[in-house]
Symmetry: D2
Subunit: 344 residues, 4 copies
């Protein structure tokens, strides 16, 4: 089988022709022939072999955790699925028995393995998953869209942290997930979406996806422009997608009193925060967002993808044959890609 593997502790990824490691399925497992897989920022960290990747990933590991494919074999105890069925899957394999797993909050399980990070992933011809991680793909959804339910789920988990109906939403950071959040915020009832993003090209993309106002946060005057745009009310909700210390500080400062903050972007180290003047005196509510709700978020993504296919098309800038995976990482390195999907 063809596989894209981190097989040396240095920058790069390598194609391999490897035997299928998992010959026999567990009774609750399913074997899936991969059709398409998305390339994630996490894959890019592992490709670059940065500090985080060196501390977390063991070589060799097959990468890839966003994918769609068809079931080719099912364990003896699997029910509710059929061979041939098209599925994606939640990439967090959780313990299944802790209080979070048992109350619809599996994203908070502390005994979690991520495919493509902690064990072999989906950048290959076949992947084995527990049946309880599967997600059936509606016939109306094209493969490329189905392949990226996982990152769409990160965006959706963030966007659905608060009721946005009639609110002014501010998004800091317009990478792939920030762009998804723009379209989702509008679809979920935000009255206005303001995007703060330093790169011109991403601001244009945010506008194409429905942003009502975009600003370069490295330029002065953001406060005055937003004040004018919001009739002095200032934004109600901040969706923090950058992980950037200054963006977090600026975002909280620009929010209205009583505002709501959903934080998805991961600051690489501890930050300085004037908790008194932002969180306390403003009466903010701040929610940290991790993973996707299993499986509430997946239902929300399914609805979004089916009712907003054009937005998803705009977010996917490249679909490449899997063999050309090196191009995907070069495009990402050069900042030229939105979302890249590989065809296996």
């Amino acid at each position: 089988m063809f596989a894209i593997v981190k097989n040396r502790p240095e920058k790069g990824l390598w194609a391999e022709d490897r035997l299928n490691a998992q010959k026999t399925l567990g009774p609750n497992d399913v074997r899936i022939k991969v059709s398409h897989a998305g390339v994630c920022g996490t894959d890019f960290h592992i490709y670059k072999w940065d500090d985080w990747a060196q501390g977390r990933v063991k070589v060799p590991t097959v990468l890839g955790h966003e994918f769609v494919g068809n079931i080719v074999e099912m364990g003896s105890a699997v029910s509710g699925y059929t061979v041939g069925e098209r599925v994606s899957a939640e990439c967090h394999i959780t313990c299944g028995v802790c209080r979070f797993c048992r109350t619809g909050q599996g994203h908070l399980c502390v005994d979690t393995q991520i495919i493509g990070v902690d064990r072999d992933g989906a950048f290959t011809n076949e992947v084995v998953m527990p049946a309880s991680n599967l997600w059936k793909i509606h016939p109306d959804i094209p493969d490329a869209h189905a392949a990226i339910f996982d990152p769409l789920g990160n965006a959706m988990h963030t966007v659905s942290a608060f009721n946005l109906a009639g609110k002014t939403v501010m998004i800091t950071g317009a990478g792939a997930i920030g762009l998804m959040a723009v379209a989702m915020s509008k679809a979920r009832g935000a009255a206005k979406v303001i995007v703060l993003e330093p790169q011109e090209a991403k601001r244009r993309m945010a506008e194409a996806l429905g942003a009502d106002m975009t600003l370069d946060p490295t330029q002065s005057g953001a406060n005055d422009k937003i004040k004018a745009f919001t009739n002095a009310a200032m934004p109600d909700v901040l969706l923090e997608m950058s992980g950037n210390e200054k963006a977090i500080q600026q975002g909280m400062t620009l929010l209205a009193m009583g505002g709501e903050v959903a934080m998805l972007g991961i600051p690489p180290k501890a930050i300085t925060l004037d908790v008194a003047s932002t969180i306390i005196f403003k009466g903010l509510t701040v929610k940290g967002i991790i993973g996707r709700k299993m499986f509430e978020t997946w239902y929300q993504v399914d609805t979004f993808v089916r009712t907003n296919p054009d937005a998803v098309d705009k977010i996917i800038t490249h679909v490449l044959p899997a063999e050309r995976f090196a191009e995907a990482f070069t495009l990402m390195e050069e900042g030229k890609a939105g979302k890249v999907v590989l065809k296996f």
Copy 2:
């Protein structure tokens, strides 16, 4: 009239015999003969004349913002009250016309004046308040309890930020407000209350008010003790009452995944926070708490005071004649007082 006044820009407070400044009432105002007034940490800051006080308070100002008394005169347009009626009052005088004031969130009004801070307060024989700030005191409630609805309201606003029913609540800081929060958390359904407080005497007081476990956070081993006490589940909710950077960091670290944090204690400056490992990866919800909800919090305090009078008695350690106000501040300076109430 007797008044306790900050009349010089230096440490101290001075008694004055002053004419009643507000001879004529506005049509919507009410004049109240003060019976009892609570001494607050804010008063102590002004007494010490620290940086915050120097930047905010103008001399001369009559102090005091927590009180109870009886209506002696009403403006021409006041209705719903009668002369002689016993009342307390919300000390934040808000604009009344902004979106927060008009939606039951007056505590978020940015055009607010606090009596005893921004204008003359209640440490005197008579105080004038807008009728819309008044709170009728139920006959069952003694004056000393009625005098401290304001700080009880700060505690209640924090405690009611989340549904505590069946949860393990951790409180960092057992000053007067932290102690109130202990009793309120138990009354509002917390299964267990854990208090982190460095002072032995305050830990004892927390236990008397219902804390199930108290710990000195300056000693090592808090994590293991709480882990054992909670069957490894760790606390569900953190009520942060200290404003101390280390307490905030420790509190968030000790919380369970998906935990909830209400922050009332005010850090004197910006703090360092590992947002990724605490808020984001743990999926926490953090709410900043300011003032009291007008007037939802007051109804909640009213219920608490009437159903838990013994707890309020334990929190009030001293009731002194107003003339002996200097003693109150000495007691506070020496850390010997819970809540001190002055009788006018």
Copy 3:
């Protein structure tokens, strides 16, 4: 002054030239020169003089409770407004001192008077209102839209009872308020809106306002059609606008397990409800909706009207000179009108 008055206990309304009854303003009152006023179903009940009207309204009473105008005089204690300012007003004059009025839930005050029903209303040249009832109209909003904030508020209060983002919403009854709810549901993030309405013309109007599916509930097959349309998931939310017993029963039956119901339409008498098979076994949540939240709903309507002016235009089918008020009621009687606005 010209006024439209119920001055005899029989069907009809009569124009009068009457002196301004309220010569002197109270200190907190404001006099408003009426520019436009909406005609409501309530006015139609009073016009017809049905049982409800006979039991509630005393003659003579000036009708009208939805309006916009300009302030021409202010009481001595009014602040935050200026003469000449354009305003609408909440028509429920509440006590202001009960626990509902003091917690942003004035719509639940039991000591309420409605203008145009319990005291003289706005179908005249000048109306006097308490300043606390006023609502400032944004310059971008045309008078005809501003005149109907009240019924838009009924619709919005219903639509905002639940978070609709990504949900399938079913609306029973497409009168003026039901039509508003269609547009609002879409604007507030509903994925799909299904309308059940027996009148063909109203179904067409619902489609023009964004309904994704409309059905005649008097025809069989609604269940199968909705099942097919929703992929067997059935609607998540029911907005009940008809007050019709069969519609309520059918609506609850068609809902998905765990569905949510907001009830605004008023059944004229007690109904039969299989509480076990609908509410209990399905785990439904049902909310009764009355009036508008003061003033949260008004802020929501303001946002909607400014971001969806085209929808409001479609709902207002007629703007007539006030003198031609009889036409308005004839149009309503003949079922030919959406919303009618009178110009004073």
Copy 4:
């Protein structure tokens, strides 16, 4: 094996000595040696063989769905449990793959089988359950308490439908579940609990469990007494446990404006409800309650049982050897029992 069986379509239950029907376990199943089992109202319906039972239950069926026991054998794919471990289990065996099962709302799954009703149950020496239904019992919990997690869960699901902190709660019906709700409401922060129950003995029991006021609803004057007791505020929350039409009507009528209703009691047929004057004009929120949240409710019950063992002791009036099961039903028939537990 000893089993209590409905083996004839007539009133009664019969002891049988039967072979263990389930010799071989499925890979995800667990065999449990039953130690104790609770007798439920549902069992009583089947014992009496009423209309509902005749329509739902096939003979022969082993009864019993509330139990505790120890694992004696595990299927090949079961993990997270050990042989010998003490467990109870959720009696609803759900499909596991629908949107409700996958979002922590398995109680709303429409493809559900109940043990002891739809298939053989736990009134026998051994029962087989899917591992995903198991609930581990904490060592501090006695067997008799562990046996009734299921009905405690019905009560808890109802009580936790709303945040009760500081509220006045009214409970209509003080059968076993109503009595549990009394103790739970107090434990979860209700300020006052009022119970409406026609039987004197049950009212006394409600008082022993913490009810602050009990009333006989068949006597006049309930409204005045509750008005006096609540200072005219009236109850905030109604927990409906009777399924009685009059109780539902009366309960909703007695509630405060904006009140909250959780309905668990099942009316045997459709009822008449003045939806306008109760639900709509009062702005009520009504929630239907079915089963237990899987497994959020179980965590809540676990906490309650461990922190309130005395209350559970009061609710269990009889623990009988399983062979004396006929006595249990006689006690229930004569209204002499609270909760009866059988020892196997």
